[in-house]
Amino acid sequence: MTTDAMPVRISSGRVFARACAAEWTRLWTVKATWWFLAVAASIMVGLGAVAGLDAGSDPTPSPNASAWAAAHFTVLPAQFAFLALVLSAVTSDYATGGIIPTLQWTPRRTILFLARTGVAVGTATVAGTVLALGSAVAAFVAARSALSLPLGEGIHGLATIAFVLAAGTALAAGLGFLLRNTAGGLVSVFLLILLLPLILPQFGYAWLTTVADLLPGSRAVFLLNGEPTDRGFTNTSSVIVMLAWAIGMAVLGWLRLIRDDANH
Protein backbone atom coordinates (compact mmCIF):
# COMPACT_ATOMS: atom_id res chain seq x y z
CA MET A 1 0.00 0.00 0.00
CA THR A 2 1.37 3.38 -0.87
CA THR A 3 1.62 5.91 1.89
CA ASP A 4 1.43 9.66 1.70
CA ALA A 5 4.57 10.25 3.70
CA MET A 6 5.61 13.82 4.34
CA PRO A 7 7.89 14.84 1.51
CA VAL A 8 11.50 15.13 2.60
CA ARG A 9 13.19 18.27 1.36
CA ILE A 10 16.28 17.36 -0.63
CA SER A 11 18.78 20.13 -1.32
CA SER A 12 20.02 20.78 -4.85
CA GLY A 13 23.52 20.05 -3.57
CA ARG A 14 22.45 16.58 -2.56
CA VAL A 15 20.72 15.99 -5.89
CA PHE A 16 23.93 17.11 -7.61
CA ALA A 17 26.06 14.79 -5.46
CA ARG A 18 23.78 11.87 -6.34
CA ALA A 19 23.91 12.78 -10.03
CA CYS A 20 27.72 12.85 -9.83
CA ALA A 21 27.75 9.43 -8.17
CA ALA A 22 25.51 8.09 -10.95
CA GLU A 23 27.72 9.65 -13.63
CA TRP A 24 30.77 8.09 -12.00
CA THR A 25 29.07 4.68 -12.16
CA ARG A 26 27.99 5.32 -15.75
CA LEU A 27 31.54 6.19 -16.77
CA TRP A 28 33.18 3.09 -15.33
CA THR A 29 30.55 0.56 -16.35
CA VAL A 30 31.16 0.84 -20.09
CA LYS A 31 34.16 -0.56 -21.91
CA ALA A 32 34.79 2.59 -23.95
CA THR A 33 36.12 4.46 -20.91
CA TRP A 34 38.71 1.78 -20.23
CA TRP A 35 39.71 1.59 -23.89
CA PHE A 36 40.25 5.34 -24.18
CA LEU A 37 42.30 5.40 -20.99
CA ALA A 38 44.33 2.40 -22.14
CA VAL A 39 45.07 4.15 -25.44
CA ALA A 40 46.08 7.35 -23.64
CA ALA A 41 48.28 5.41 -21.20
CA SER A 42 49.98 3.54 -24.02
CA ILE A 43 50.72 6.73 -25.91
CA MET A 44 51.90 8.78 -22.95
CA VAL A 45 53.91 6.25 -20.98
CA GLY A 46 55.06 4.34 -24.07
CA LEU A 47 56.22 7.40 -26.00
CA GLY A 48 57.67 8.85 -22.81
CA ALA A 49 59.84 5.76 -22.41
CA VAL A 50 60.86 5.91 -26.08
CA ALA A 51 61.83 9.59 -25.68
CA GLY A 52 63.85 8.68 -22.60
CA LEU A 53 65.66 5.85 -24.39
CA ASP A 54 66.39 8.21 -27.27
CA ALA A 55 67.83 10.82 -24.91
CA GLY A 56 69.82 8.15 -23.07
CA SER A 57 71.43 6.94 -26.26
CA ASP A 58 72.38 10.45 -27.43
CA PRO A 59 76.22 10.65 -27.53
CA THR A 60 76.08 14.42 -26.81
CA PRO A 61 73.28 14.85 -24.28
CA SER A 62 72.05 18.33 -23.46
CA PRO A 63 72.90 19.14 -19.85
CA ASN A 64 69.56 20.93 -19.28
CA ALA A 65 67.31 18.35 -20.94
CA SER A 66 64.22 17.64 -18.82
CA ALA A 67 62.06 14.54 -18.72
CA TRP A 68 59.01 16.84 -18.39
CA ALA A 69 59.32 17.64 -22.08
CA ALA A 70 58.15 14.06 -22.74
CA ALA A 71 54.91 14.77 -20.86
CA HIS A 72 54.30 17.95 -22.85
CA PHE A 73 55.02 16.19 -26.12
CA THR A 74 53.04 13.00 -25.53
CA VAL A 75 49.90 14.73 -24.26
CA LEU A 76 49.40 16.28 -27.73
CA PRO A 77 48.38 13.02 -29.44
CA ALA A 78 46.99 11.47 -26.24
CA GLN A 79 44.56 14.34 -25.66
CA PHE A 80 42.37 12.96 -28.45
CA ALA A 81 41.73 9.84 -26.39
CA PHE A 82 40.54 12.06 -23.53
CA LEU A 83 38.47 14.21 -25.86
CA ALA A 84 36.84 11.07 -27.30
CA LEU A 85 36.25 9.73 -23.79
CA VAL A 86 34.37 12.84 -22.74
CA LEU A 87 32.49 13.11 -26.03
CA SER A 88 31.31 9.52 -25.83
CA ALA A 89 30.31 9.98 -22.18
CA VAL A 90 27.97 12.74 -23.35
CA THR A 91 26.80 11.51 -26.74
CA SER A 92 26.37 7.77 -26.06
CA ASP A 93 23.09 8.55 -24.32
CA TYR A 94 21.84 10.13 -27.53
CA ALA A 95 23.14 7.32 -29.73
CA THR A 96 21.51 4.62 -27.59
CA GLY A 97 18.37 6.48 -26.51
CA GLY A 98 19.64 6.23 -22.95
CA ILE A 99 18.86 9.92 -22.51
CA ILE A 100 15.21 8.85 -21.94
CA PRO A 101 15.86 6.98 -18.66
CA THR A 102 18.64 9.44 -17.79
CA LEU A 103 16.20 12.38 -17.80
CA GLN A 104 13.56 10.33 -15.99
CA TRP A 105 16.01 9.70 -13.19
CA THR A 106 17.54 13.21 -13.20
CA PRO A 107 14.96 15.54 -14.72
CA ARG A 108 16.70 18.68 -13.44
CA ARG A 109 18.68 19.22 -16.57
CA THR A 110 21.14 21.81 -15.32
CA ILE A 111 22.13 19.43 -12.54
CA LEU A 112 22.54 16.63 -15.07
CA PHE A 113 24.66 18.91 -17.27
CA LEU A 114 26.92 19.95 -14.41
CA ALA A 115 27.30 16.41 -13.09
CA ARG A 116 27.97 14.79 -16.45
CA THR A 117 30.37 17.50 -17.60
CA GLY A 118 32.07 17.73 -14.23
CA VAL A 119 32.63 14.00 -13.79
CA ALA A 120 33.76 13.35 -17.38
CA VAL A 121 36.02 16.42 -17.58
CA GLY A 122 37.36 15.85 -14.08
CA THR A 123 38.14 12.20 -14.78
CA ALA A 124 39.87 12.97 -18.07
CA THR A 125 41.86 15.82 -16.53
CA VAL A 126 43.01 13.89 -13.49
CA ALA A 127 43.81 10.77 -15.53
CA GLY A 128 45.67 12.84 -18.11
CA THR A 129 47.70 14.65 -15.48
CA VAL A 130 48.61 11.41 -13.71
CA LEU A 131 49.60 9.85 -17.04
CA ALA A 132 51.66 12.95 -17.85
CA LEU A 133 53.52 12.35 -14.61
CA GLY A 134 53.91 8.71 -15.66
CA SER A 135 55.21 9.80 -19.05
CA ALA A 136 57.85 12.05 -17.50
CA VAL A 137 58.91 9.37 -15.00
CA ALA A 138 59.08 6.76 -17.80
CA ALA A 139 61.30 9.13 -19.81
CA PHE A 140 63.47 9.86 -16.77
CA VAL A 141 63.94 6.17 -15.92
CA ALA A 142 64.57 5.12 -19.52
CA ALA A 143 67.08 7.94 -20.07
CA ARG A 144 69.36 6.58 -17.28
CA SER A 145 70.24 9.99 -15.86
CA ALA A 146 70.52 11.67 -19.27
CA LEU A 147 67.38 13.64 -18.38
CA SER A 148 66.58 15.57 -15.23
CA LEU A 149 63.24 15.71 -13.40
CA PRO A 150 63.13 19.08 -11.62
CA LEU A 151 60.20 19.41 -9.21
CA GLY A 152 59.36 23.08 -9.83
CA GLU A 153 59.20 22.64 -13.60
CA GLY A 154 57.10 19.53 -13.07
CA ILE A 155 54.45 21.30 -11.01
CA HIS A 156 54.15 24.09 -13.57
CA GLY A 157 54.14 21.63 -16.45
CA LEU A 158 51.51 19.37 -14.91
CA ALA A 159 49.31 22.38 -14.11
CA THR A 160 49.55 23.48 -17.75
CA ILE A 161 48.68 19.99 -18.96
CA ALA A 162 45.75 19.84 -16.55
CA PHE A 163 44.46 23.19 -17.82
CA VAL A 164 44.78 22.22 -21.49
CA LEU A 165 43.00 18.92 -20.87
CA ALA A 166 40.27 20.50 -18.76
CA ALA A 167 39.57 23.25 -21.29
CA GLY A 168 39.71 20.87 -24.26
CA THR A 169 37.47 18.24 -22.69
CA ALA A 170 34.99 20.88 -21.47
CA LEU A 171 34.80 22.07 -25.07
CA ALA A 172 34.21 18.45 -26.15
CA ALA A 173 31.47 17.99 -23.54
CA GLY A 174 29.73 21.17 -24.71
CA LEU A 175 29.99 20.01 -28.32
CA GLY A 176 28.53 16.66 -27.33
CA PHE A 177 25.50 18.27 -25.70
CA LEU A 178 25.16 20.69 -28.60
CA LEU A 179 25.46 18.20 -31.48
CA ARG A 180 24.10 15.08 -29.70
CA ASN A 181 26.11 13.05 -32.16
CA THR A 182 29.39 11.19 -31.61
CA ALA A 183 30.67 11.29 -35.18
CA GLY A 184 29.84 14.97 -35.59
CA GLY A 185 31.48 15.75 -32.26
CA LEU A 186 34.67 13.86 -33.11
CA VAL A 187 34.97 15.54 -36.51
CA SER A 188 34.44 18.98 -34.93
CA VAL A 189 37.01 18.31 -32.21
CA PHE A 190 39.60 17.13 -34.72
CA LEU A 191 39.00 20.21 -36.84
CA LEU A 192 39.20 22.68 -33.94
CA ILE A 193 42.08 21.07 -32.07
CA LEU A 194 44.24 19.55 -34.79
CA LEU A 195 43.47 20.08 -38.45
CA LEU A 196 42.43 23.71 -38.83
CA PRO A 197 45.24 25.12 -36.63
CA LEU A 198 47.71 23.22 -38.84
CA ILE A 199 46.15 23.83 -42.23
CA LEU A 200 44.83 27.40 -42.17
CA PRO A 201 48.23 29.17 -41.82
CA GLN A 202 49.52 27.15 -44.81
CA PHE A 203 47.32 29.12 -47.23
CA GLY A 204 49.39 32.26 -46.67
CA TYR A 205 46.45 34.61 -46.06
CA ALA A 206 46.80 36.78 -42.97
CA TRP A 207 43.13 36.51 -42.08
CA LEU A 208 43.21 32.73 -42.23
CA THR A 209 46.24 32.74 -39.95
CA THR A 210 44.34 35.04 -37.58
CA VAL A 211 41.45 32.57 -37.58
CA ALA A 212 43.90 29.77 -36.79
CA ASP A 213 45.34 31.85 -33.96
CA LEU A 214 41.91 32.01 -32.37
CA LEU A 215 41.39 28.26 -32.46
CA PRO A 216 41.83 26.24 -29.27
CA GLY A 217 44.26 23.79 -30.87
CA SER A 218 46.78 26.54 -31.72
CA ARG A 219 46.72 27.77 -28.14
CA ALA A 220 46.98 24.30 -26.65
CA VAL A 221 50.17 23.66 -28.63
CA PHE A 222 51.58 27.02 -27.52
CA LEU A 223 50.83 26.38 -23.86
CA LEU A 224 52.31 22.88 -24.00
CA ASN A 225 55.34 23.42 -26.24
CA GLY A 226 55.77 27.20 -26.60
CA GLU A 227 55.22 27.13 -30.38
CA PRO A 228 54.75 29.03 -32.59
CA THR A 229 57.01 31.81 -31.32
CA ASP A 230 56.34 34.27 -34.17
CA ARG A 231 52.58 34.89 -33.84
CA GLY A 232 52.54 37.04 -30.73
CA PHE A 233 50.98 34.40 -28.47
CA THR A 234 51.28 34.82 -24.71
CA ASN A 235 50.33 32.46 -21.93
CA THR A 236 47.58 34.82 -20.79
CA SER A 237 46.03 35.28 -24.23
CA SER A 238 46.20 31.54 -24.84
CA VAL A 239 44.48 30.76 -21.55
CA ILE A 240 41.77 33.31 -22.38
CA VAL A 241 41.19 31.86 -25.87
CA MET A 242 40.96 28.32 -24.53
CA LEU A 243 38.64 29.35 -21.69
CA ALA A 244 36.43 31.25 -24.12
CA TRP A 245 36.07 28.17 -26.31
CA ALA A 246 35.46 25.87 -23.36
CA ILE A 247 32.94 28.10 -21.61
CA GLY A 248 31.26 29.20 -24.84
CA MET A 249 30.75 25.65 -26.09
CA ALA A 250 29.64 24.45 -22.66
CA VAL A 251 27.04 27.22 -22.49
CA LEU A 252 25.73 26.35 -25.96
CA GLY A 253 25.51 22.68 -25.01
CA TRP A 254 23.77 23.54 -21.74
CA LEU A 255 21.26 25.74 -23.56
CA ARG A 256 20.38 22.95 -25.98
CA LEU A 257 19.97 20.49 -23.12
CA ILE A 258 17.66 22.69 -21.08
CA ARG A 259 15.62 24.12 -23.96
CA ASP A 260 15.10 21.29 -26.42
CA ASP A 261 13.13 18.08 -26.18
CA ALA A 262 15.06 15.15 -24.76
CA ASN A 263 16.14 13.58 -28.02
CA HIS A 264 14.24 15.05 -30.93
Binding site: T2, R18, A22, T96, G97, G98, D261
Partner: protein, 313 residues
Protein backbone atom coordinates in the same frame (compact mmCIF):
# COMPACT_ATOMS: atom_id res chain seq x y z
CA UNK B 1 -2.62 11.38 -9.69
CA UNK B 2 -1.78 12.86 -13.07
CA UNK B 3 -3.54 16.04 -14.13
CA UNK B 4 -3.33 17.11 -17.77
CA UNK B 5 -4.82 20.41 -18.90
CA UNK B 6 -4.85 21.87 -22.40
CA UNK B 7 -1.77 19.89 -23.36
CA UNK B 8 -0.61 20.68 -26.86
CA UNK B 9 2.53 19.68 -28.73
CA UNK B 10 3.40 20.94 -32.14
CA UNK B 11 6.36 19.72 -34.23
CA UNK B 12 6.63 22.29 -36.99
CA UNK B 13 3.39 21.95 -38.93
CA UNK B 14 2.40 18.72 -37.25
CA UNK B 15 0.05 18.93 -34.29
CA UNK B 16 0.97 15.78 -32.37
CA UNK B 17 -1.15 16.52 -29.28
CA UNK B 18 -4.08 18.88 -29.50
CA UNK B 19 -5.51 20.53 -26.37
CA UNK B 20 -5.64 17.33 -24.34
CA UNK B 21 -7.18 17.39 -20.87
CA UNK B 22 -7.80 14.45 -18.57
CA UNK B 23 -6.95 13.10 -15.12
CA UNK B 24 -5.41 9.76 -14.28
CA UNK B 25 -6.67 8.72 -10.89
CA UNK B 26 -5.01 6.56 -8.26
CA UNK B 27 -6.22 3.05 -7.50
CA UNK B 28 -7.10 2.29 -11.10
CA UNK B 29 -5.42 0.98 -14.20
CA UNK B 30 -6.05 3.62 -16.84
CA UNK B 31 -5.62 2.43 -20.39
CA UNK B 32 -4.33 5.02 -22.82
CA UNK B 33 -5.58 3.98 -26.21
CA UNK B 34 -5.20 5.29 -29.69
CA UNK B 35 -4.14 4.29 -33.16
CA UNK B 36 -0.52 4.63 -34.25
CA UNK B 37 0.50 8.27 -34.41
CA UNK B 38 -2.36 9.34 -32.13
CA UNK B 39 0.02 11.09 -29.73
CA UNK B 40 0.13 8.58 -26.86
CA UNK B 41 3.92 8.41 -26.57
CA UNK B 42 4.28 12.16 -27.02
CA UNK B 43 1.80 12.72 -24.20
CA UNK B 44 3.72 10.32 -21.96
CA UNK B 45 6.98 12.05 -22.81
CA UNK B 46 5.44 15.37 -21.81
CA UNK B 47 4.17 13.90 -18.53
CA UNK B 48 7.81 12.98 -17.80
CA UNK B 49 9.18 16.34 -18.87
CA UNK B 50 11.11 14.78 -21.75
CA UNK B 51 9.34 16.92 -24.34
CA UNK B 52 8.24 20.46 -23.64
CA UNK B 53 4.56 21.19 -24.29
CA UNK B 54 3.82 23.90 -26.84
CA UNK B 55 1.08 24.90 -24.38
CA UNK B 56 -0.82 23.46 -21.46
CA UNK B 57 0.50 21.74 -18.37
CA UNK B 58 0.96 18.37 -16.75
CA UNK B 59 1.12 17.88 -12.99
CA UNK B 60 2.17 14.65 -11.34
CA UNK B 61 0.98 14.46 -7.75
CA UNK B 62 0.55 18.22 -7.86
CA UNK B 63 3.91 19.21 -9.33
CA UNK B 64 5.62 19.21 -12.71
CA UNK B 65 7.66 16.00 -12.92
CA UNK B 66 10.93 17.88 -13.48
CA UNK B 67 10.51 19.67 -10.14
CA UNK B 68 11.05 16.50 -8.12
CA UNK B 69 14.39 15.98 -6.42
CA UNK B 70 13.72 12.24 -6.17
CA UNK B 71 11.59 11.62 -9.27
CA UNK B 72 11.87 7.83 -9.10
CA UNK B 73 9.95 7.89 -5.81
CA UNK B 74 7.10 9.70 -7.57
CA UNK B 75 6.97 8.16 -11.03
CA UNK B 76 8.30 4.90 -12.41
CA UNK B 77 8.10 4.77 -16.16
CA UNK B 78 8.94 2.50 -19.02
CA UNK B 79 8.72 4.24 -22.37
CA UNK B 80 11.13 2.49 -24.72
CA UNK B 81 12.82 -0.67 -23.47
CA UNK B 82 15.47 -0.36 -26.19
CA UNK B 83 16.53 3.09 -25.01
CA UNK B 84 19.41 1.96 -22.83
CA UNK B 85 23.19 1.75 -23.19
CA UNK B 86 23.52 -1.84 -24.36
CA UNK B 87 27.16 -2.09 -23.30
CA UNK B 88 26.24 -1.91 -19.62
CA UNK B 89 24.99 -4.90 -17.64
CA UNK B 90 21.39 -4.91 -16.47
CA UNK B 91 22.51 -4.70 -12.86
CA UNK B 92 24.78 -1.70 -13.54
CA UNK B 93 21.97 0.02 -15.44
CA UNK B 94 19.81 -0.30 -12.34
CA UNK B 95 22.67 0.76 -10.05
CA UNK B 96 22.98 4.01 -11.99
CA UNK B 97 19.25 4.57 -11.52
CA UNK B 98 19.52 3.83 -7.80
CA UNK B 99 22.39 6.28 -7.33
CA UNK B 100 20.55 9.12 -9.05
CA UNK B 101 17.81 8.96 -6.41
CA UNK B 102 19.87 7.96 -3.39
CA UNK B 103 18.40 4.46 -3.20
CA UNK B 104 20.17 1.61 -1.41
CA UNK B 105 21.80 -0.86 -3.81
CA UNK B 106 19.94 -3.75 -2.17
CA UNK B 107 16.82 -2.40 -3.90
CA UNK B 108 18.51 -3.25 -7.19
CA UNK B 109 18.75 -6.91 -6.17
CA UNK B 110 15.15 -6.88 -4.95
CA UNK B 111 13.70 -5.58 -8.22
CA UNK B 112 15.90 -7.93 -10.25
CA UNK B 113 14.25 -10.78 -8.35
CA UNK B 114 10.82 -9.16 -8.59
CA UNK B 115 10.85 -8.96 -12.38
CA UNK B 116 12.48 -12.35 -12.82
CA UNK B 117 15.63 -11.09 -14.52
CA UNK B 118 17.76 -13.39 -12.37
CA UNK B 119 21.25 -14.23 -13.55
CA UNK B 120 20.72 -12.26 -16.78
CA UNK B 121 21.30 -9.12 -14.71
CA UNK B 122 25.03 -9.90 -14.83
CA UNK B 123 25.07 -9.89 -18.63
CA UNK B 124 25.41 -6.92 -20.93
CA UNK B 125 22.08 -5.59 -22.15
CA UNK B 126 23.11 -6.09 -25.78
CA UNK B 127 22.43 -9.82 -25.29
CA UNK B 128 18.91 -9.29 -23.97
CA UNK B 129 15.76 -10.21 -25.85
CA UNK B 130 13.03 -7.59 -26.14
CA UNK B 131 11.14 -9.33 -23.36
CA UNK B 132 14.17 -9.15 -21.07
CA UNK B 133 14.59 -5.46 -21.87
CA UNK B 134 10.95 -4.94 -20.97
CA UNK B 135 11.56 -6.61 -17.63
CA UNK B 136 14.67 -4.49 -17.06
CA UNK B 137 12.70 -1.33 -17.82
CA UNK B 138 9.94 -2.39 -15.46
CA UNK B 139 12.55 -3.14 -12.78
CA UNK B 140 13.84 0.43 -13.12
CA UNK B 141 10.28 1.74 -12.92
CA UNK B 142 9.61 -0.19 -9.69
CA UNK B 143 12.98 0.64 -8.12
CA UNK B 144 11.81 3.38 -5.75
CA UNK B 145 8.32 2.02 -5.13
CA UNK B 146 6.70 5.04 -6.85
CA UNK B 147 3.13 6.30 -6.46
CA UNK B 148 2.63 6.76 -10.19
CA UNK B 149 3.53 4.29 -12.93
CA UNK B 150 3.61 4.88 -16.66
CA UNK B 151 4.05 2.06 -19.15
CA UNK B 152 4.15 2.56 -22.89
CA UNK B 153 3.08 -0.65 -24.63
CA UNK B 154 4.50 -2.85 -21.85
CA UNK B 155 3.50 -6.22 -23.28
CA UNK B 156 5.32 -5.75 -26.56
CA UNK B 157 7.80 -8.55 -26.96
CA UNK B 158 6.62 -10.54 -23.97
CA UNK B 159 5.66 -14.19 -24.18
CA UNK B 160 2.38 -15.45 -22.76
CA UNK B 161 3.82 -15.83 -19.26
CA UNK B 162 5.19 -12.33 -19.48
CA UNK B 163 1.84 -10.93 -20.57
CA UNK B 164 0.11 -12.62 -17.62
CA UNK B 165 2.80 -11.33 -15.32
CA UNK B 166 2.30 -7.77 -16.57
CA UNK B 167 -1.48 -8.02 -16.18
CA UNK B 168 -1.11 -9.20 -12.59
CA UNK B 169 1.51 -6.56 -11.87
CA UNK B 170 -0.68 -3.73 -13.20
CA UNK B 171 -3.62 -4.99 -11.16
CA UNK B 172 -1.55 -5.27 -7.98
CA UNK B 173 -0.06 -1.82 -8.44
CA UNK B 174 -3.49 -0.25 -8.89
CA UNK B 175 -4.94 -2.24 -5.99
CA UNK B 176 -2.12 -0.83 -3.83
CA UNK B 177 -3.57 2.61 -4.51
CA UNK B 178 -1.06 3.66 -7.14
CA UNK B 179 -1.83 5.64 -10.27
CA UNK B 180 -1.22 3.41 -13.29
CA UNK B 181 -1.31 4.67 -16.88
CA UNK B 182 -0.73 2.07 -19.59
CA UNK B 183 -0.71 2.87 -23.27
CA UNK B 184 -1.55 0.26 -25.81
CA UNK B 185 -2.87 -0.17 -29.30
CA UNK B 186 -4.11 -3.65 -28.31
CA UNK B 187 -7.72 -3.02 -27.41
CA UNK B 188 -8.32 -6.61 -26.40
CA UNK B 189 -5.50 -6.32 -23.87
CA UNK B 190 -6.94 -3.17 -22.35
CA UNK B 191 -10.34 -4.82 -22.12
CA UNK B 192 -8.79 -7.28 -19.69
CA UNK B 193 -6.62 -4.95 -17.64
CA UNK B 194 -7.93 -1.38 -17.68
CA UNK B 195 -10.54 0.06 -15.33
CA UNK B 196 -10.73 3.31 -17.25
CA UNK B 197 -9.89 4.20 -20.80
CA UNK B 198 -8.61 7.42 -22.25
CA UNK B 199 -8.95 7.19 -26.01
CA UNK B 200 -7.19 9.65 -28.29
CA UNK B 201 -6.93 10.05 -32.02
CA UNK B 202 -4.86 12.57 -33.96
CA UNK B 203 -3.79 14.03 -30.65
CA UNK B 204 -7.33 14.79 -29.50
CA UNK B 205 -9.34 13.28 -26.69
CA UNK B 206 -12.04 11.01 -28.07
CA UNK B 207 -13.28 9.31 -24.94
CA UNK B 208 -12.51 9.28 -21.24
CA UNK B 209 -14.69 6.81 -19.39
CA UNK B 210 -14.68 3.46 -17.63
CA UNK B 211 -13.99 0.44 -19.77
CA UNK B 212 -17.58 -0.74 -19.16
CA UNK B 213 -18.99 2.61 -20.24
CA UNK B 214 -16.99 2.51 -23.43
CA UNK B 215 -18.14 -1.02 -24.11
CA UNK B 216 -21.78 -0.41 -23.28
CA UNK B 217 -22.39 3.22 -23.84
CA UNK B 218 -20.04 4.88 -26.20
CA UNK B 219 -20.00 2.07 -28.67
CA UNK B 220 -23.12 1.24 -30.70
CA UNK B 221 -25.65 -0.82 -28.70
CA UNK B 222 -27.55 -3.56 -30.46
CA UNK B 223 -30.19 -6.06 -29.42
CA UNK B 224 -30.85 -9.40 -31.09
CA UNK B 225 -34.37 -10.76 -30.75
CA UNK B 226 -35.96 -13.93 -32.15
CA UNK B 227 -39.71 -14.46 -32.21
CA UNK B 228 -42.15 -16.82 -33.97
CA UNK B 229 -44.12 -13.65 -34.92
CA UNK B 230 -41.32 -11.50 -36.37
CA UNK B 231 -43.44 -9.46 -38.77
CA UNK B 232 -45.80 -8.36 -36.00
CA UNK B 233 -42.88 -7.54 -33.67
CA UNK B 234 -41.12 -5.61 -36.44
CA UNK B 235 -44.27 -3.55 -37.06
CA UNK B 236 -44.68 -2.63 -33.37
CA UNK B 237 -41.00 -1.81 -32.94
CA UNK B 238 -41.03 0.46 -35.99
CA UNK B 239 -44.21 2.16 -34.82
CA UNK B 240 -42.48 2.93 -31.53
CA UNK B 241 -39.57 4.49 -33.37
CA UNK B 242 -37.06 1.65 -32.96
CA UNK B 243 -34.44 1.29 -35.72
CA UNK B 244 -34.86 -2.34 -36.56
CA UNK B 245 -33.70 -4.69 -39.26
CA UNK B 246 -34.88 -8.21 -40.04
CA UNK B 247 -31.84 -10.48 -40.24
CA UNK B 248 -33.53 -13.72 -41.30
CA UNK B 249 -36.89 -15.42 -40.99
CA UNK B 250 -37.38 -14.98 -37.24
CA UNK B 251 -34.48 -12.81 -36.08
CA UNK B 252 -34.44 -9.03 -35.77
CA UNK B 253 -31.63 -6.63 -34.88
CA UNK B 254 -32.56 -3.45 -33.00
CA UNK B 255 -30.14 -0.52 -32.93
CA UNK B 256 -29.34 1.76 -30.00
CA UNK B 257 -31.79 0.12 -27.59
CA UNK B 258 -31.44 -2.23 -24.66
CA UNK B 259 -32.80 -5.75 -24.33
CA UNK B 260 -35.05 -4.50 -21.52
CA UNK B 261 -36.78 -1.99 -23.80
CA UNK B 262 -37.36 -4.56 -26.53
CA UNK B 263 -38.54 -7.18 -24.02
CA UNK B 264 -41.05 -4.81 -22.41
CA UNK B 265 -42.49 -3.84 -25.76
CA UNK B 266 -42.90 -7.49 -26.80
CA UNK B 267 -44.56 -8.25 -23.48
CA UNK B 268 -46.93 -5.32 -23.93
CA UNK B 269 -48.18 -6.76 -27.22
CA UNK B 270 -48.12 -10.37 -25.94
CA UNK B 271 -45.62 -11.43 -28.56
CA UNK B 272 -43.64 -14.50 -27.49
CA UNK B 273 -39.85 -14.31 -27.68
CA UNK B 274 -37.46 -17.25 -28.16
CA UNK B 275 -34.30 -15.22 -27.77
CA UNK B 276 -33.41 -11.77 -26.51
CA UNK B 277 -29.91 -10.44 -25.88
CA UNK B 278 -27.75 -7.33 -25.89
CA UNK B 279 -25.03 -7.73 -28.45
CA UNK B 280 -21.84 -7.49 -26.40
CA UNK B 281 -19.49 -5.32 -28.35
CA UNK B 282 -15.82 -5.97 -28.06
CA UNK B 283 -13.66 -3.05 -27.11
CA UNK B 284 -12.07 -3.53 -30.49
CA UNK B 285 -15.34 -2.63 -32.20
CA UNK B 286 -16.02 0.26 -29.84
CA UNK B 287 -12.50 1.53 -30.37
CA UNK B 288 -12.76 1.33 -34.14
CA UNK B 289 -16.04 3.23 -34.03
CA UNK B 290 -14.53 5.86 -31.76
CA UNK B 291 -11.32 6.35 -33.67
CA UNK B 292 -12.56 5.60 -37.15
CA UNK B 293 -11.89 9.11 -38.39
CA UNK B 294 -8.78 9.60 -36.33
CA UNK B 295 -6.42 7.06 -37.79
CA UNK B 296 -3.46 8.82 -39.28
CA UNK B 297 -1.95 5.91 -41.16
CA UNK B 298 -4.45 3.81 -43.04
CA UNK B 299 -3.65 0.55 -44.71
CA UNK B 300 -5.18 0.25 -48.15
CA UNK B 301 -6.32 -2.94 -49.73
CA UNK B 302 -4.72 -3.34 -53.12
CA UNK B 303 -7.21 -2.52 -55.84
CA UNK B 304 -7.65 -5.26 -58.43
CA UNK B 305 -6.01 -4.20 -61.62
CA UNK B 306 -8.39 -3.92 -64.51
CA UNK B 307 -7.17 -6.20 -67.26
CA UNK B 308 -7.82 -3.45 -69.79
CA UNK B 309 -5.79 -0.89 -67.82
CA UNK B 310 -2.31 -0.24 -69.03
CA UNK B 311 0.20 -0.08 -66.28
CA UNK B 312 3.04 2.32 -66.83
CA UNK B 313 6.29 0.99 -65.42
Amino acid sequence: MIRIRGLTKRYGDVLAVDDLSFDVEPGKVTGFLGPNGAGKSTTMRMILGLDRPSSGEVLVNGQPFAAYAEPLREVGALLDPGAVHSGRTGRNHLRVAARTNGLPLRRVEEVIDQVGLGSAARRRIKGYSLGMRQRLGIAAALLADPRVLLFDEPINGLDLDGVRWIRDLLRRLADDGRTVLVSSHLMSEMEQTADRLVVIGRGRLIANATTAEILNGLGRRQVRVRSPRPVELLKHLQEDGFAVEQLDGQELQVEDRTAEEVGELAHHFHIPLHHLSDVQQSLEQAFLELTGDSVEYHGHRAEPVDAATEVAL
